[in-house]
């Protein structure tokens, strides 16, 4: 990573964001350990550079749709951290009041949404992109997906539609080499995913997703392409899933020595840190201060989230229909109290 010295403040912001993202995921791990969070939590530890780079290109009026592994994308899109964390902890104060939970996060203000169904987020992004077209805005819709998602029919259908309509769609593939236990090589007919882009009238490039500067450069080109009205763009960011697919995954299908080595050698935070110290752009002390500030933010958020309550049972029937319709209102006594 070669660093340009003019960008000292940018780098400080960038590093702080990556650090915050790591701390955010660690706060989630704490919630799992304490069983405050249940279910199958997916963290993106090791993938911070992609999300931090994304944050640099996303505008407020852009949309972002994400997957089961979305926390960092939400942060990149500007979803406020406390309600986000509170939703993951399924609290009344959560972004969606605890109804959605960690896989289903919706923030209309930021045009941000997720889904727990692999491949299902891209079609939704298409809607955002089409809205921008209808309104003659140069906003883009970003869909962040995993390498495994590229093999879903939804991916191909949405890409082709974006291609034929020349919609402003940016697809960021976080290729962390695994889809649960299935390695990338066993699921993809092509050696890279970026090379599939032309089949959908899109441009595509692969970037080192551990190198925040490189992936930011690739994203810059992709956003520019999509904003220009030239159609969809794909960035395949190569990275590595540091933890099991979900918390609780025994992760026995990966070689543990290789995993340990890669986590030690290829941590995007450490890569950035080393490059920043080596270049003298930020001192170890300055970096430490940024880390500490991020940690403090997250600690405060966690404390606030922990203090909140779960939503009350009596509200479980609300919101099924926006109109307030309750189809079987008159026999509701049959339902548990």
């Amino acid at each position: 990573m070669e660093l340009s010295t003019e960008r000292r403040d940018d780098w400080a912001r960038r590093y702080r964001l990556m650090s915050l993202m790591r701390r955010f995921e660690e706060a989630c791990l704490e919630g799992v350990a304490s069983t405050e969070i249940h279910g199958e939590l997916h963290t993106a530890i090791g993938q911070e550079a992609v999300a931090a780079a994304l944050a640099e290109h996303l505008r407020d009026d852009d949309a972002l749709t994400s997957t089961h592994r979305h926390h960092l994308h939400a942060i990149a899109k500007g979803v406020p951290i406390i309600p986000l964390l509170a939703e993951i902890f399924e609290k009344e104060t959560g972004l969606c009041g605890g109804y959605g939970g960690h896989m289903h996060v919706f923030s209309p203000e930021q045009r941000f949404s997720t889904t727990g169904i692999v491949g299902a987020s891209l079609p939704v992004a298409l809607g955002h992109a089409y809205a921008a077209r209808l309104q003659r805005r140069d906003a883009v819709a970003v869909a962040v997906i995993g390498d495994g998602s590229v093999n879903t029919g939804g991916f191909a259908e949405a890409m082709n539609m974006a291609g034929v309509l020349r919609l402003g769609l940016v697809v960021v593939i976080e290729n962390n080499e695994w889809a649960i236990s299935v390695p990338f090589s066993a699921s993809s007919a092509t050696p890279t995913l970026a090379e599939r882009a032309p089949a959908f009238g899109a441009v595509g490039e692969r970037a080192d997703g551990l190198d925040v500067d490189e992936v930011s450069g690739a994203l810059e080109r992709a956003f520019a392409h999509a904003r220009s009205g030239a159609g969809p763009a794909v960035v395949e960011a190569m990275c590595y899933r540091f933890r099991g697919h979900y918390e609780g995954d025994l992760d026995l299908y990966r070689d543990s020595a290789e995993k340990a080595r890669r986590i030690a050698d290829k941590d995007p935070l450490r890569i950035a840190e080393r490059a920043l110290s080596a270049s003298g752009l930020l001192t170890a002390q300055e970096l430490g201060a940024l880390d500490a500030a991020a940690a403090a933010d997250i600690a405060a958020a966690l404390a606030e989230v922990r203090a909140a309550s779960q939503p009350p049972a009596r509200t479980a029937h609300d919101h099924v229909f926006a109109s307030g319709l309750v189809p079987n209102a008159s026999v509701r006594e049959e339902t548990p109290a």
Partner: protein
């Protein structure tokens, strides 16, 4: 119903007119699907919209239902009211994901923060098109929470219910009947007069199409006219059947149905959909839950006996309700009275 002269339009034209008026009134309404623009829909129920509103608001798509149904969810998040056409309801298996996991659940999953005013417009019904192009499947959608499910039976309702579906803040599955779409308004003994003006028909109110004393026949969509014919024929046997057009499957208008059954004490559900695990069981159970086991003297159901719709008409007639088979079911259900 307004007393209007019967115009020489068919059901698909009534629907197209309803859509057109809503699109005129509200720029956020879009129509998206295969062959909805240049062709005006393979059954004609979006005809004229392309000319009126242009190719961006009336979008012909590739054969990519998963993509464009999800697109509707994204558009709803952006404040649009997309009407998505799934040409035949039988094709829903390629995109049910977006319908039931996204459109239907996002209002709830978002804790009420996101609305999904999406209409899934599709066509069902057995008209000799075999197992993959004949289903109605309202029972399938109705089982999945978060979706209103409606199916009109006549021109007046088709126009008014599509309008109400478009205006609804809830997602609505709107199932047209292929056997009705090309029928002229004049051929209907009920709902044949279609005003030119904009109006809507509430999505949650059943209609008593034919009053009667001896038996309540609850049905909807293409079977209503057959039930009316059967009821007329039944009177020759001394049976006076009331026919209710449910219009909506979710929600059921329990008040109208229970009110009728409380009088007739007999309920026959006629359902072109598969009988098992669907509308008929729900309707019978729901009525019993409301008026009690003692409130009825008889329950019966008649519909597709859980058989894929066969191709040959000789076979299709054996599994799809028609006026003749409904009459037989009415007479069976009132047997002890004859």
């Amino acid at each position: 119903m307004t007393a209007t002269v019967t115009r020489n339009i068919n059901v698909s034209q009534a629907t197209a007119e309803g859509l057109r008026l809503e699109m005129e009134a509200d720029a956020s309404v879009l129509v998206i699907g295969e062959d909805v623009a240049a062709q005006g829909g393979v059954f004609g129920s979006t005809r004229g919209l392309l000319k009126a509103f242009g190719p961006e608001r009336v979008l012909d798509t590739p054969i990519s239902e998963m993509a464009f149904t999800g697109m509707a969810a994204g558009l709803a998040m952006e404040g649009y009211r997309p009407v998505v056409e799934i040409m035949f309801v039988d094709f829903i298996g390629v995109c049910l994901e977006q319908v039931y996991n996204a459109v239907a659940k996002i209002p709830y999953m978002s804790g009420g923060r996101v609305r999904m005013p999406v209409v899934i417009k599709t066509a069902g019904g057995s008209i000799g098109a075999a197992a993959q192009h004949s289903q109605t499947l309202w029972g399938l959608f109705a089982h999945l929470p978060g979706l209103r499910v409606v199916a009109p039976s006549n021109p007046y309702d088709s126009k008014g219910m599509i309008a109400a579906a478009v205006r609804s803040d809830d997602p609505v599955v709107f199932i047209e009947h292929k056997g009705l779409l090309l029928e002229r308004a004049a051929g209907f003994s009920f709902g044949g007069a279609v005003p030119k003006e904009r109006y809507d028909v509430p999505l949650d109110r059943a209609a008593v199409v034919r009053p009667g004393r001896d038996l309540t026949v609850a049905t909807l969509s293409g079977s209503v006219r057959h039930a009316v014919d059967a009821a007329a024929a039944a009177s020759a046997y001394g049976v006076d059947a009331e026919v209710i057009d449910l219009r909506s499957v979710v929600p059921i208008d329990w008040q109208t149905v229970c009110g009728s059954v409380a009088r007739t004490r007999r309920l026959l559900v006629v359902d072109e959909d598969y009988l098992g695990f669907g509308l008929s069981g729900e309707l019978i159970t729901g009525v019993l839950e409301r008026i009690g086991l003692g409130g009825l003297d008889g329950i019966a159901r008649h519909g597709n006996p859980d058989v894929p719709v066969p191709a040959a008409l000789s076979l299709e007639r054996a599994v799809v309700p028609g006026a003749g088979s409904i009459l037989a079911a009415i007479l069976r259900a009132t047997g002890e009275r004859r």
